[in-house]
Amino acid sequence: MSGTIVGDFSGWLGATSLSHSIQTAGWIIPTLQTIHILSIALLFFSAIIVDLRMWRLLQRDVPLGDVARRFLPVIWPVLLVLLITGSLLIVGEPGRSLLNTTFYLKMALLALAVVLTVGLQWSLSSAPEFWEKDRGRRMAGRFAASVSILIWCCILFAGRWIAYTQVG
């Protein structure tokens, strides 16, 4: 892969002293991954609980707007932690992700999930009843919730799959 821009960048990144430190201390990568997974746990649960509320499967006694206000704001600071730990993991093993199609799939899905979540949060904060006004809105809300659940699940799968699809 050397010769391509990404390949060269990956090679350069892997030769930096930060990358070298991460590689040589055996505990750093599993520790970063543990923080990464714990953050995913908080983010994924927060997103899913709102989706399940849209399906009226949980938290039925609480207005959807309240559930969204409680859980969706959690996502953004946690996402920051994920971006930091994820970036450090890339610095430690650049080729594992930068030369891996699964990684780019995961990032594309993440962008999609972020857009969807921002849209959901925005619609619910500007009009708490937005998804519950009539039957059509409720169905649309359930569809959006299902897509959200599916995308987050795919992101988690892709994350695990990076380990199995790395080249070399």
Partner: protein, 167 residues
């Protein structure tokens, strides 16, 4: 101990275990389901723990918080245990020889015990304090202990992956 060994080889030699071992896709697939389920188990339990600590969902009574979350926790726990069980039987002897695996099982047991103790002792008087922003010390301790135990469970889980790589 002999019976335990026989039981383990019974599972390990089963055709199901063999299929998981030898199919290239099956193990990563089960593992992904396991990670997904664990994330929801841990995320949902932490949401309850944070309420017990008085750090989240403080405007809602504790029982309302648990009622809205724990059904999900139990559902995904079953999925996590089943997928974990499938990974275990595919290589039972090696897992049993792995210190992090043993530690993880004990930590899950400890988390369960913490929950039982809280439920049967501290939670008995819950109606008296469940509306308070900051629950009493025993409840806060149970919440803090639970968070620490589950962090350790996830860490052990990740470390199993790094110490079992020989295959």
């Amino acid at each position: 101990m002999l019976h335990l060994k026989e039981l383990i080889s019974f599972f390990e030699d089963s055709s199901l275990a063999e299929t998981i071992r030898e199919n290239d896709l099956l193990f990563p697939l089960i593992e992904s389901v396991h990670v997904l389920a664990i994330c929801l188990v841990v995320g949902s339990i932490m949401a309850v723990d944070l309420r017990l600590l008085g750090l989240a969902s403080v405007k809602r009574p504790v029982s309302a918080v648990t009622r809205g979350i724990l059904p999900l926790t139990w559902g995904v726990f079953v999925v996590a245990a089943a997928s974990g069980g499938l990974m275990f039987i595919s290589n039972a002897t090696k897992y049993l020889g792995n210190g992090y695996f043993i530690a993880k099982m004990f930590l899950i047991g400890a988390a369960g015990l913490n929950m039982v103790v809280f439920h049967f002792i501290s939670a008995k008087e819950m109606p008296r304090w469940e509306n308070e922003t900051r629950p009493p010390l025993p409840a806060r301790l149970a919440g803090a202990l639970s968070i620490l135990l589950w962090i350790a469970v996830v860490a052990c889980g990740r470390w199993i992956g790094f110490t079992m790589q020989a295959g």
